[in-house]
């Protein structure tokens, strides 16, 4: 039994149960409009989750993903507001994001700094550099000059909000990358055992850099959606708990932080759980702050359930695996 009940299935089961419960008890929950709203509300979280998952599967973690998202998109908006053509400004933001990802990757792969610290420091550096040198204000607004990007956050195709479509596309791309390409196999190999992968001939270091570049690209994309739907990019989002939410979405679905396990499916499951919870509680008229209590308690139950069903063995547990 325990072999069949892994964390992913527990979370999936909880999600389905909650969905069924809300659908039966809450009027207006099971409507096309509401389900789209639900998906839309978690699309940014899902996209960032996919980027994070690519890194986590390779036994890394990217704590700089929110900083990259905020500063790169704010840079784009700021530059276009100051007269730089929108295309060029977008390219600048994109380049900045990828550059930050590559620097993180280089630090981790070549300077051998543990990912958690390299990206923690990079997050502070990127946010600090952005706020003090690159940007004119802490919060950059969407100006008419950058309005053409608006459809990314607010557009609809056949009634489906564009963020949901982008999430689907990103998830599909992530799935193909991890499951169907050589690169994806290599990422799993690195996550399982970096030394073994290195000895086998996998170009470990370049692939680590590439992973962080990829997560930076998803960050830029998620940032564009956020900025265009809120009409501004607030760089203080760096100080919020968003980064923790992203890690939760990834880990709650069953991707191990020790690498080599799980895939995009797990991210989707985790994202759906958060989405269903949020949406249901909103309809139940739960205040914002109490929502986060209930949400996190349910998350706690999910990981406790996993540890009871799949207890860690004192003899085989990996040392230093926190």
């Amino acid at each position: 039994m325990s072999r069949n009940l892994n964390q992913e299935r527990i979370v999936l089961a909880i999600t389905i149960l909650l969905f069924a419960f809300f659908a039966l008890t809450l009027p207006g929950f099971l409507t096309v409009q509401n389900v789209l709203t639900l998906l839309r509300s978690v699309s940014v979280l899902g996209i960032l989750g996919v980027g994070m998952a690519i890194v986590v599967v390779g036994r890394g973690i990217d704590l700089a993903i929110v900083a990259i998202m905020a500063v790169s998109v704010a840079l784009t908006l700021d530059q276009s507001a100051h007269g730089v053509p929108l295309g060029l400004a977008t390219l600048m933001g994109f380049g900045f994001a990828v550059g930050c990802g590559v620097v993180s990757g280089l630090l981790i792969a070549y300077a051998e700094v543990p990912a958690i610290f390299a990206t923690l420091a990079m997050a502070a550096i990127i946010a600090g550099f952005g706020q003090s040198r690159l940007l004119s204000l802490s919060e950059i607004y969407v100006t008419p000059a950058s309005e053409p990007l608006g459809w990314i956050g607010t557009g609809r195709v056949l009634g489906v909000p564009s963020p949901v479509l982008i999430l689907a596309a990103v998830a599909l791309a992530g799935f193909v990358l991890l499951r169907a390409t050589k690169l994806g196999r290599f990422i799993y190999a690195i996550g399982d055992n970096p030394r073994a992968a290195h000895v086998t001939g996998v170009p470990v270091r370049p692939i680590i850099v590439l992973q962080f570049a990829l997560s930076a690209i998803t960050a830029f994309l998620a940032g564009l959606i956020t900025a265009t739907s809120v009409s501004s990019m607030n760089t203080r989002i760096v100080d919020s708990t968003l980064i923790y939410d992203i890690i939760l979405v990834v880990v709650i679905g069953g991707i191990g932080l020790s690498g080599g396990k799980g895939g995009i499916r797990n991210v989707i499951v985790g994202t759906l759980l958060i989405g269903v919870l949020q949406n249901g509680m909103t309809i139940l008229d739960t205040p914002y702050d109490e929502q986060s209590i209930i949400k996190s308690v349910i998350l706690l139950f999910a990981i406790v359930a996993d540890s009871i069903v799949n207890p860690r063995d004192e003899q085989t547990a990996q040392q230093g695996d926190i």
Binding site: F117, A118, I125, A127, G128, F129, S132, S138, Y244
Partner: protein, 728 residues
């Protein structure tokens, strides 16, 4: 002296009449190696506190940087203002450090801090409780968060990172709900507690109260972590959870306790914070987990456990706070603070990672530090040389005892009942039963490698155990520690109190035990490397059973090895293996306390010395000198390059495979030599013991004990009898 040194020198330097010419360059080399203590570098690098070098350097750089950029950064008033905040911040860092050392991580401290803060203010401003009650409530609130983490991570064994992440969010949300209802009443309320008002602005002798609390906690925490059982349990669990579990430590309880402690310390900090500012807001404590983690890591505590200390917490806290406050005081733009902090964190970690990775590499390269030594060419041992050492084949037909039953009988000894005792590499003392020595048993299990042995007046077997010290095995097989430490030398960097390699012992008539420790720089498994250094790393130590004290009496000896009480009971003869010499240490008579050379310049490396029945002494030469090694001893630079660049297996070692037994008299005159010329039975000899007309041979790398019939020896003479007389 004329009797002692004269003949010795004659026997040693008889052949090379003309002393080798020594050039100016070599004299300079000699002085350079005499004056400059190379070995200190390696010993410093081997110290535990060197681990703190990088964080300490960062602390100094940060202080110097901001001190030069900001006028009056170090002024008294300015320091007091920062110190108050430092005390609060530091308490949380201590908690985080303890959790990190135990192999976990606590991200919930920021939320727990906010909870403690609001609880304290609710108690004071709304409920009007006295300060001590509010303090209790605050500790209870934050401690409860710690307990929740502890139960989840410790007992349910959830992953620390993920779990504390979730509790961070839960507790933050609880605080937000509390804020929504209570924040405005709190900000309008007032305390009527005098203690509370005092706490907020308190100084004791000009030092802020919170700083004092913090420093007390640092000192207490250091003692607990490094000197007590609970602290060791935490270190053990963090160092290797599995080993700690298998060693019987309650891993779950220990892990749980670390989180509870972190929670309580966070509560304490929140209480002091609340007393100082008296306000609560949603930003209280947010991001604290990151700056606390940064401080703990900048100080040099390892994520993943096992490496951490209060000193590291101290340095990390000061560094982080100096940076954040310094940046604010420089009036830089928003974001400059995180930018500078991030850069420092990155730099510190890059340096630390390099340091951790390369420290043992550097250490292994620089620890071996050869010194200069010049030995005159020795007397020849060639069969036709005509010297007393001339090779013969007297040992060719030795009888072999206990073949393959013993592994490494360094020394052999007999009791009053003629039973034979030897040590073995596996930590046992074997007893071969008289009269034919075919039956054997494990007499006692000690654990280390038993080396030299001696019986005392009461038939206790005293044993020098490599890696453990001096032990006593009573006739009823009970093993007791006699001593395993001596007084520390004042200027040594290596802590030389512990005995690393007690080698051989003998007992003075008054019961004092004199024993040699071969080297204080190497362990039992690396002792041959000491030969590369040719420095006086060894010492002679005396244990006084009457006072129970252990004192070092001679230092700077070159691998002191065998030691034997002279027949008249006035002095000890002792051998220095790498110096190829025998010396005498007087314990009685007019020369008591002085040392003199008996034989210099032996042709081989001397090992054990024991009494012979005719009033002379047996001396084992464990290996013979070679001209190549002799030459290399005069070239320390060459040996150092060798140790750095060549694989250890290829190093040039002194020969310790072919040796002999020689017989010497009290004056140092060499009388005879016994060889196994073809090396069939006993090429390597580390000790020999005469007993009832036979000579028994031991060797540290051998799998047997040899027995040689001594022509014309007294068939009733026993060693134990010669020391303590016939049995009463």
């Amino acid at each position: 002296m004329p009797e002692g040194a004269g003949p010795g020198l004659r026997s040693g330097q008889a052949e090379p009449a003309s002393p080798a010419r020594v050039g100016l360059a070599e004299r300079l080399t000699e002085q350079r190696y005499r004056l400059f203590p190379d070995h200190v570098v390696g010993e410093i690098l081997a110290k535990g506190w060197v681990d703190n070098a990088t964080p300490f350097a960062f602390l100094l750089i940060v202080l110097a940087l901001f001190g030069s950029l900001i006028p009056d950064f170090f002024s008294g008033a300015s320091l007091v203002a920062s110190a108050r905040q430092l005390g609060e911040f530091g308490c949380v860092v201590i908690g985080q450090t303890i959790v990190l050392v135990g192999g976990g991580i606590d991200l919930s401290v920021g939320s727990s801090f906010a909870l403690g803060n609001i609880v304290a203010l609710m108690c004071i401003n709304l409920a009007g409780l006295p300060a001590w009650a509010a303090f209790g409530c605050t500790l209870a609130a934050s401690g409860a968060v710690g307990l929740l983490n502890g139960v989840l991570v410790g007992y349910l064994r959830l992953r620390a990172f993920l779990t504390t992440l979730v509790t961070l969010i839960i507790v933050r949300a609880v605080v937000d709900v509390l804020l929504l209802h209570e924040a405005v009443p709190i900000s309008m309320g007032n305390s009527n507690s005098a203690v509370w008002d005092w706490l907020g602005d308190a100084t004791v002798a000009g030092v802020p109260f919170s700083l004092i609390v913090w420093l007390v906690l640092i000192v207490g925490g250091h003692i607990i972590l490094s000197r007590t059982r609970p602290g060791w349990h935490v270190m053990a669990v963090g160092g290797s959870r599995r080993s700690a579990h298998n060693a019987g430590i309650s891993v779950r309880r220990t892990v749980c306790a670390t989180y509870v402690i972190a929670g309580l310390l966070t509560g304490l900090s929140a209480f002091l914070f609340a007393a100082r500012l008296g306000s609560t807001g949603s930003e209280t404590g947010s991001g604290l987990e990151l700056s606390v983690l940064t401080a703990a890591i900048l100080g040099g505590n390892s994520l993943g456990g096992g490496r951490g200390s209060m000193a590291k917490a101290l340095m990390g806290s000061i560094t982080v706070l100096a940076i954040t406050n310094g940046v604010v005081r420089l009036g830089l733009h928003a974001g400059a603070g995180p930018l500078v902090l991030g850069l420092f964190l990155l730099l510190a970690i890059v340096v630390d990672v390099r340091w951790l990775k390369n420290r043992h590499k550097i250490l292994s390269k620089v620890y071996i530090s050869p010194a200069y030594q010049r030995l005159a060419p020795p007397a020849s041992a060639a069969a036709d040389a005509g010297t007393p050492y001339a090779m013969n084949d007297k040992l060719a037909d030795v009888e072999v005892l206990g073949l393959d039953r013993v592994d490494g009988p360094e020394d052999v000894i007999f009791d009053r009942n003629d039973h034979m005792y030897t040590g073995s590499r596996h930590g046992d003392i074997h007893r071969f039963l008289a009269p034919d020595y075919t039956r054997h048993e494990v007499f006692a299990h000690i654990g280390g490698f038993p080396l030299g042995m001696a019986f005392d007046r009461d038939d206790n077997l005293l044993v020098c155990v490599g890696g453990m010290g001096l032990y006593r095995v009573r006739p009823d097989r009970v093993v007791e520690k006699v001593t395993d430490e001596t007084n520390r030398s004042r200027l040594s960097i290596n802590d030389d109190t512990r005995l690393r390699l007690a080698d051989d012992l003998d007992i003075a008539p008054d019961g004092k035990i004199y024993f040699s420790e071969a080297t204080t720089r190497y362990e039992m498994n690396t002792w041959p490397v000491d030969a590369l250094e040719a420095r006086g790393n060894g010492r002679l130590i005396c244990y006084d059973p009457a006072r129970g004290s252990t004192r070092t009496i001679l230092r700077g000896l070159r691998f002191p090895n065998g030691i034997c009480l002279a027949h008249d009971g006035q002095s000890f003869l002792f051998a220095q293996t790498w110096a190829c010499s025998i010396s005498r240490y007087w314990i009685a008579g007019p020369k008591a306390g002085t040392t003199e050379l008996v034989i210099a310049n032996l042709p081989g490396h001397p090992d054990n010395i024991n009494r012979a029945s005719d009033g002379t002494y047996w001396l084992a030469l464990v290996g013979m000198r070679s001209p190549v090694v002799d030459l290399s001893l005069r070239m320390p630079g060459f040996r150092r390059r060798m140790a750095r660049r060549v694989a250890a297996d290829e190093w040039l070692y002194p020969n310790i495979n072919i040796g002999c037994v020689v017989k010497i008299d009290d004056g140092g005159q060499v009388l005879d030599a016994l060889w196994d010329r073809h090396g069939r039975n006993h090429p390597m000899i580390t000790s020999m013991r005469e007993h009832r007309g036979y000579l028994y041979l031991g060797g540290i790398l051998n799998n047997r004990v040899g027995r040689y019939r001594i022509p014309g020896a007294d068939p009733d003479w026993t060693g134990i009898g010669s020391y303590w007389g016939a049995r009463a």
